[in-house]
Symmetry: C2
Subunit: 190 residues, 2 copies
């Protein structure tokens, strides 16, 4: 799926391990898109390219973010890897020629989530969390839940992430808290 040069460029830029992860996220995203009756091609594209800016070199991330005019919030300034979401959307647009705004937003918010997520954004977020090689605590339950109650699976994934960040002494991104609060409020209104 998709032209060879995209795969070749991606493999070259993020390395084979992360490229293989991206293929699994793409496949999981396609399964979810089928299940939830939404555009499979968009899901595949966002899944494949979600980590296209996940470079290990922090200086490179900072420099490219600066060149792209991405404004870093306080959390990103302290947790440089978070830049790969917004920078990924920028690179997908300028270097992989992706014009679809929905796909770009799904790439942009795949790590933090955000308030009022689209179906595609939800699919990419959770596919990244549950792809078959993920092993972290609680993933089995979320993996099952993703095909039963997508929103509840997102809340659980985000809650697990927030607890993990607390236990490892990191910074909690406000977009993640906004995302899970929004999902919980929406659920309580059902």
């Amino acid at each position: 799926m998709f032209e060879d040069w995209i795969h070749e460029k991606l493999k070259r830029e993020i390395g084979i391990v992360r490229y293989n992860h991206s293929i699994r996220v793409m496949e999981t995203s396609i399964r979810l898109a089928k299940y939830y009756n939404t555009n499979e091609r968009k899901a595949a594209l966002a899944g494949l390219l979600h980590d296209c800016a996940k470079f290990n070199d922090k200086r490179k991330l900072l420099k490219m973010a600066d060149n792209s005019g991405i404004i870093l919030d306080n959390i990103m300034k302290n947790d440089i890897q978070l830049i790969h979401g917004p920078l990924g959307a920028e690179i997908a647009k300028t270097q992989y020629n992706i014009e679809d705004e929905e796909v770009l937003l799904a790439i942009q918010y795949h790590t933090t989530g955000k308030e009022n997520m689209s179906l595609l954004e939800k699919i990419i977020f959770i596919a990244d969390y549950i792809e078959p090689n993920r092993k972290f605590k609680g993933v089995k339950e979320v993996r099952k839940l993703a095909f039963e109650d997508l929103e509840e699976s997102l809340v659980q994934a985000m809650d697990n992430t927030i607890k993990f960040i607390i236990n490892s002494g990191g910074l909690i991104h406000l977009d993640t808290v906004k995302a899970r609060n929004y999902l919980k409020i929406e659920k309580s209104l059902e």
Copy 2:
């Protein structure tokens, strides 16, 4: 300490159990103020009055907030009890004649915390968390820490609170996340 009518009014309005809690928070606040060399009288006043709007009646809270022009955020709309912080500052000002802006802010943010807290705000927040009758998980460690590293004790209290909210399925207030992120970033720059 403080005029009799203040104690009588407070007892009448929030009930004897919560009044006794307020006295313990006042005493703990005074101890902390002494320890950290700040104004004991302000700490005592904010400690005594921090829960002056903690009414059980949700309709009363909503009506009084509306009358006072307090704008409820999405989290407060869903967790009505959170109103007692900002409403408490309003009532302390209009009904208990407190004019000191520092004291009013300490009352306003005693439940959620906020970014860049003043020393008095930190003292009231943590005194409410560690007063001698508090029994919840992790409180002993925070109680000890409050007299060793005030900022670290706040981070631990907030982290415990966030985890508790997650486990009980509630909504996480953004001010709490902003508060603990700010404290952690500040610490990392020391």
